[in-house]
Symmetry: D4
């Protein structure tokens, strides 16, 4: 149940087509339903700016599918992250889309887009994380552009994208290894930058901890940092920021 | 040199009072000046949305003072972080303000404020970090409110601030120890949340690493995380996001 | 050999049906028997309030089965943790029960229950650990209730369980990721809380270390913390505390 | 405001001497009062079984003293941990007691004691932490006994205390270095054991992390573990468990 | 080439059956032979008290077999650690013995044994490491006894072995989890103790690091600590110490 | 009370000058005496081959002095480690010796020495740790030689000591930084080597952890490793091994 | 596109066969081409002294092959690291060479060699990393010699190579476990040493971190350290240094 | 004793003014002299390309001064690192120079310089480390240039130095915080780069570990990495590489 549906209920209250009591009951009894192993929270969009998302890894396929079904009935739109194609194939929902690189499944994507989120990667191996961010932000209603493989060792490649960088309202920058790209991009724009460390690398990349710590220590003040490989979170935050543009 | 001054130059170009060539030279030759041990970057505001800041710790008082002098001449406004009162006393600049709890010195604060940044802390010991964020965001031009000592172990105290939480455009949440406050606040609003781990605690608080990791693993998607005790960064990011409100 | 059996022996001594010498020999020679690779300790219940438990992982199926057989003959009741269904199928003991989610096998569960242990989880993925705790405490003789998937990002779901929380004598709270649930629950009751970090999460969840450290740093004083994923230990401790209720 | 006072209010409601409305207002408006930098929570005892405690380190003496004053007016009884003698000397409250080894200040200790909490240490250097636990549990209303310097390298010393160990309802065991004492004590009793790692040691004792991890990995199931040097938490938990004895 | 063979050469020099020059050449030219990927060192026994050992993991079967062949020709006796049965089956050497639990292969074990090495484990899962130590020490010429599964949570089991503990010249104590056994055994004897942490455990056992650090911090002074799971090293050291007994 | 005194008691029993009962009582009642904050264990020498030692750091001077006094009355000989000169000056015991570099105080050193312990260091900064080992082993009755500053970067210096290395029964090798010396020395002798990592170094020396881990991973099998800076433990172990020489 | 080709273009400009404008366009438009998921950088050789390299792990075979094809067309010569034989078999390029031990594929190796790079290993298991370095340096145009399995525990083996060590212009030393070899070699030459820690070892070798830290703390000043297992980087650096010899 | 002096001896041998035997004895007996606590190695220059250096921290002033005196007599030239002005004032040696920022003392600097070493820093706080490198390389005989405060967040400042970067034979790049500068510089030159992580920063800069790991994971292949704050090592390596230029 997204903001729009709730506004409709409230509007119906305002125009008298629904009584206050009925509206109250609808709103109050909806917050979540208990399907024994997972309490589904249909109001989350209202409170957190994102629809319910099912984090598929660590759940059985059966659990994922029954949660998805319950969500589909009530809210209409939701995401499944870290899903397998097998889950997608079992999911009999019209309009569901599977993004194989990042394992995202989206149901009921927002049609109208606004603002601009620019998603960048330092290398080729960071693309799955970047696309999780891109698909998530787009799903929620942001225009998304992406520029991949523009690592700091080749500054001229980065310079060629400086126009795109300057125009974006929010930037998501995914990088593994030494995680230096957000600092360099941060020197080229005054828009908010969301840095996502990836687990790309080996040895002392420490599964992404090195990139994470590098980003937290950026000499550019005010870079927002996410958990390692957390493209979904980056997409959510990018959208939350992006929707502020033009908001009254 | 902030955005406003640069716009003035450009406007002068437009209306013909300054030639394109002169403007070019002014802009090009200004980027930084070399005072031997520190290259002062007067264009940073243009590129990063924040004025130059002098990170005082790790510099001698003499270095801080001469950088400050150079900045004062060119830009007019800047911040000094982690400064001692001694530095402030030696700093003979009219309108400079010293914030003793966080050791911030501000010179030339922005007068007109916009939007709302809400700064919160879990405990009393997190206040210095929170105030660094609050002063920074205010300095840059954001309206700032603050609510301190509303930790998760007393939910009713937190509930009393739910109205303030819902109204804020951006929230900065500082917490040490288990770092749980951003997650709980994150369940109460859909505005962007900037979590700042503090070094409050002992033993396995690991100097703030525990709070940091907890925040990076928040079950609320899209929380922006800062380095430990980085109130300044949080203030910058909060303002960068806050200025997007009403931006065309 | 549990407390009850030992009390019977002592009672027999008291009423003269067994001589002191015989009782002494029975007690002294019983402590353990050596089956070459594992010394089985039939007195552990007497000393530690829990029966012998076989930690199956790291042992061959053959080892598990022969230890189980030896225990069955002497004590009658015991647990096997982290067991496979294959072990259960080979275990030809009447009344043995297999809990597939947590891999527990129980033999000879206590019939009479007392007190109330409430087992809670933050998310769906924490359920296996929680159920290991629930089954263990129940096996030992505690009444157990459970409430799953009530994470801190949706406080209203948690609030709905406040009555159950207040009534429980002991609470086991399992959570991964940022591990914040025990702190929030800790603000809602003055009964002892046992926090179990789980390895749910990725990246900086560090296999459960982040949740562990967060729990150790809870702003609620006096939360008991267990090893990562140690549902069995939590169940034991919950029961040890729960039996104190009404004890003279 | 402790349970007893609240019960008095409720009793007054029952016997008619206070109206329901007045009681409600008293209870509702009391939860905390805002003294600008710290929200004092007078209901905490009701919810968490412990009175408000002021964690002095990280606060200025002035902050500690004004919080203490506010608490003294409302609740009458509270603890200050990690306090200096200087704070105690400035604190003009009758009946306040200063424990110099652990830096605890208690105001308004509970008179009637119940049950038995046994506090043990492995070495001489663990005593400050152990006494913080002992004073806290006693303050809250538990009988406390203590046995110090009974480390595992001299088992006969430990054996001499086996009678005390068996009789205690709850045990607090503080140990640094290899942190082995809780495991050995755990083999001698079936009462709940609260293990407190201390920062005693050097090199790979890692400031107490080694003892902490050793305790979390105890081969005795169900040992409750606290943060490093957290004697206060151990005392709270010990009392919370101890009060369950004889509770209906 | 072990000490005995070298002594024979020297004796032959002494009795004149071999010239000094020939002996010199034999000794000098023998140190190692180069078989391209591994320089085999036939003098190691002379310098380090142990024969050459082939650490099979990280080498191809072919590499292991050709090194083994070269050793067999020159020295006659050697060990292969972490070997598979497959390697053993391909190894066509008379008198080779395979120890399947620890994956050791021994060729040419010393016949005459001396002294007493006692090998102990805390649990059943520590046996593979303990047996690597036991077989190694025995191979080198030490009498070896072993007592398994005598963890600290059941002191009476340990007490039953106190006679064996007191009689041993050297003790090897393998333990995982909290690694407390060496400290307790260390309180029962004044012979040297070699502690071997094992990777037994989960969560904060950190793959054996917790047991390792616990052992390094033992309150018993002078415990020798080995790398995690390094039964082979423990066996070597135990023998090196054991041979000092009765040495002139 | 050391081995010799106990043997005297037993001899007196044998020759009839002391009755068995008296001897038993003497032995049984002596194990330790309780001086409230520290249980002094006069039998430790009997069980662990070392006299009682007072670890001064973490204790007040008063505590150290009263424990020392109690020990002096009963045993006659003991060590104080990490002591200040101030403690030594207050300690009014004849024959006490202060070693200022390592902060050791010895009382009642063993006169007759046996065997040979060789103590080596890689650099000048490792000497305090090495001398703690040397004084301890000598105190207990071992002949001790020492060779300092023979790090691996200058092999010829090391080669000059090869004769001393080969002759020693046991070697203690202290090294900080990369901790490589024990491996190189280990290639030059087949006697037991005790490696002591020191906290010498900076940055990634990690306070001695790097040297510790390097030593645990030595390519020379069977090196005994101690805690960081634990010269005392190394001295104890060296003596425990050294006394085995010539033991029947 | 390597230095040679670029020099040819510039020479053509000098002799007039190519106009400055054409050269500029050739150079400017060549820097990289976008093949959607990877921006191939043909100018890297010019800027970094090494050709483009494809890091195959973390990419699909299809991605590797299409990047390789694009490179082959433009530059003619490049390396693929961590490649499988399957990739090599699918790669239909004449003159491509597959090095199975290290998984390197080279295309278009430099014919003329200069200087001397000596590649050494401590053990047999370090060879794959060493060969990655050796093949890379040779590919780029350096003469390469190698000496394997000369660990510090057998100094005489190392001494036999002292002539080779002294003659080399640059040395690459790969070692796992305690990582001591670079220090010892560093004492035998004044040429630059590049230390490569390998992940050889177990337990506290920590996947190569111990060797890495040991190398960073070498008592020999000025040892260059690489990431764990980074043979490719070592080969590049060795060549970059080696080419300085005889450079004007 | 540096290379030049040794060459003189050898030349004297060649021209007959010194006999081979005398030269041999001079060389052989000189390697080091024992002044009890430190073996001074006058041949180190011969073997490692650097003179003896005294690492003052961790030594008493007396030790530093007597080692310095001994060196001065024999070699004439040496460095003292991490020295205080007090040591310098007590050091009565003509021509000694004190560099207060880095605490270096140089005695007998090389007059003739060659090649070019460029030393760069990301920030102002990295200068002490950079100057240690610069002074060391210059002392040994390299021309040194330096460019400070050219961090990656302001690329245009870095671009202004691109000419200097391209011309240098070797580059030393010191950076703390996220340690990104070496990667960016690495994209601008094909000369060897020596990266020195500094301990500049706070929180997750982890005392320089973050910069260290970032540098080890640079996307530019072949960057040489030093220990944290190890400017001395960087200067040595830079000179060792720089001297290769023009070497036959």
């Amino acid at each position: 149940m997204d903001n729009k549906k709730i506004k409709n209920i409230l509007a119906s209250v305002k125009d008298g087509s629904v009584s206050v009591g009925d509206a109250l009951r609808t709103l109050k009894h909806l917050p979540y339903e208990d399907i024994s192993f997972a309490r589904i929270d249909h109001h989350r969009h209202l409170r957190q700016g994102v629809p319910e998302v099912i984090f598929a890894s660590g759940k059985t396929d059966e659990q994922v599918l029954s949660i998805a079904l319950a969500m589909h009935k009530k809210s209409g739109s939701f995401l499944i992250t870290k899903a397998s194609r097998q889950i997608f194939d079992s999911l009999n929902i019209r309009g569901a889309v599977f993004y194989p690189e990042s394992g995202l499944i989206s149901v009921g994507e927002e049609k109208k887009k606004k603002g601009t989120v620019l998603v960048m990667t330092a290398g080729t191996s960071d693309i799955p994380v970047a696309e999780e961010a891109a698909v998530t932000a787009s799903f929620l209603g942001s225009n998304v552009e992406s520029v991949y493989d523009v690592g700091v060792a080749g500054l001229h490649r980065l310079m060629d994208t400086s126009e795109q960088i300057r125009k974006a309202h929010v930037l998501v920058v995914a990088a593994g290894m030494e995680g230096a790209l957000p600092s360099v991009v941060g020197g080229m724009t005054d828009s908010p930058i969301i840095a996502v460390p990836t687990s790309t690398g080996y040895g002392t990349s420490l599964g992404g901890l090195t990139a994470l710590f590098a980003m937290l220590n950026s000499c550019v003040p005010g870079i927002a940092v996410m958990n390692i490989d957390n493209g979904f979170g980056a997409g959510c935050l990018a959208h939350k920021i992006n929707v502020l543009v033009n908001r009254k």
